[in-house]
């Protein structure tokens, strides 16, 4: 009996360790990654302030017949956002990080009380979607992996991630969103230029991915606006505002910095994930974890009303 107990405890510990260590795939830092930037980019708030100013003074290169050229290989600077949107220390489970929230100014995720309680319960029952190779939704897909490639044509921007070969295709042709009856893992995104900033609006998400490993969730009514601006030749300022009033007390904004790779001929990998993941999923399920089924906006509204 005690042997069995020990064995299952070890198995559980292994799963917990693996679960926290899983994402993102280890990415070696090759030589040639740009290290100079017009703004310090290791803290979101400091970077944000500096970047907004620097963007005013920078005249970016453009694609023929199109907006500023965002194409290239980009590497995310801030570690650990996928672990926790807020500042958190390095521990056995986390690499830690300064957090990415610039609004509200206290750097905290403004969750309704019911939602905060719910996400703590969820974190004990479900694995983070990334461990099951599921798509990360918007905006988490932008900080789930570390290395990205943007391919830009006058009609669209492709955002390719190394994480589970996820891609986003952002049309720049002024089209409207698809029917609200269609729900997608990465939602429906449309982009347009406001000056030198690419503004991407995303709707139609299915609300199944989380924003981080702290199980911060959203519903299918979430409305996400991302703003991408070059602030010098090799630095990209990214902000995303998430609005989902049944889950959050106010819209909140995260900021990320990406730096360009100048390695000649660098190719990102479109890595298989699910195809090699069966043993790990069996392990998770064996100790009682499942994949998060999501919560509808109607259920969230009900929970919010009940808590008032």
């Amino acid at each position: 009996m005690s042997n069995q107990f020990v064995a299952s405890t070890i198995a559980l510990a292994a799963v917990v360790a693996v679960a926290s260590l899983m994402p993102p795939p280890a990415i070696a830092q090759p030589e040639g990654w740009v290290t100079e930037s017009v703004c310090p980019d290791n803290t979101a708030t400091v970077f944000h302030r500096c970047a907004l100013e620097a963007a005013q003074a920078f005249d970016p290169p453009r694609v023929p017949d199109g907006g500023p050229d965002l194409g290239g290989i980009w590497r995310l600077r801030a570690p650990g956002m996928y672990e926790d949107l807020e500042a958190h220390p390095r521990t056995e489970d986390d690499q830690g990080g300064p957090g990415g929230i610039v609004d509200p100014p206290d750097g905290k995720v403004p969750m309704h009380a019911w939602a905060d309680a719910r996400r703590r319960e969820n974190a004990d029952s479900y694995i983070h979607h990334n461990a099951a190779c599921l798509l990360s939704g918007v905006p988490e897909t932008m900080y789930m992996g570390g290395t990205f490639q943007f391919l830009q044509t006058p009609e669209q921007l492709l955002m390719l991630s190394e994480d589970a070969h996820a891609y986003r295709s952002i049309p720049l042709d002024g089209r409207s969103h698809i029917s609200e009856n269609i729900r997608l893992w990465n939602g429906d995104s449309t982009g347009h230029w406001e000056g030198n900033t690419l503004v991407i609006e995303t709707t139609n998400q299915n609300g199944k991915p989380w924003l981080d490993q702290r199980a911060r969730f959203y519903t299918e009514e979430a409305y996400v606006v991302e703003r991408l601006t070059l602030i010098d030749a090799n630095t990209l300022h990214y902000e995303a505002t998430i609005d989902d009033p049944n889950v959050y007390t106010q819209p909140f904004t995260i900021v990320l910095a990406y730096r360009r790779s100048t390695v000649e001929g660098f190719e990102i990998m479109a890595m298989a994930c699910y195809e090699n993941n069966e043993a790990l999923m069996d392990l998770y399920r064996g100790v009682g974890y499942g994949t998060y089924p999501g919560i509808s906006a109607a259920e969230a509204r009900e929970a919010l009303e009940a808590g008032r």
Partner: protein
Amino acid sequence: MKALVMLTASAASLILFSTAGQAQEAAGQTYTPPRTSYGNPDLQGIWQVLNTAVWDIEDHSGSLGVPAGQGVVVGGQIPYQTWATAQRHENYENRLTADPEASCKMVGVPRITYMPYPFQIVQTPAQISILYEYVHSLRNIYMNSSHPQDVIEAPWMGDSRGDWDGDTLVVDSIHFTDQTWFDRSGNFHSESLHVVERYTRTGPDHMLYEVTIEDPEVFTEPWQMSMPLYRRQEDNARLLEYECYAYLEGEVDRKRSD
């Protein structure tokens, strides 16, 4: 073995290319495709096949859930080695569970092209990316470059390198896993698979898709497939999603909690 395949690949490709070229001429192909701003034929847009290759790339009779179909294999029959014919038969018997598509895995090249889902081609001078709706499969085709000697893990979609042969995009792919099949009926290959695809615009809304398959471990000689690709005509055509394994995982969890 693999090195040998790579050495012989270019010679074989030359012979096969000329065959493919003749087929095009025979079809009276004179269409001049529009070009990108940097001068390459413009293959961009959302495309899809209209055939039964996903069930069986060879000629086949109908059965429950499977329409009868004329094959896409040039000459009609795949030149299997004797042992491979037996393996293909075994695959067929076990197809409902053994087909990688049945467990929602990526289906490899060229099968991804003739799945019943749309795909989108996006071009830049140095790289052509093809986005597929089926489990967000992605191929990055690098132009004017060569295959790496090794890959860290077997990519399910292979390693693809592109070149222009006149107005035809030629994509050479190697470094495959042996875990994928060509169709739902068990036609298969080994890790030595070498695929050469030719994409040729034949009209405003049509493209000729020709494939040469080479795998000396499984076939007695290289062989080809040929089929048209059709541009999706809907005003609001776009890639949505078929996140097969996400739906499958969800089912597994639902059954567990019942």
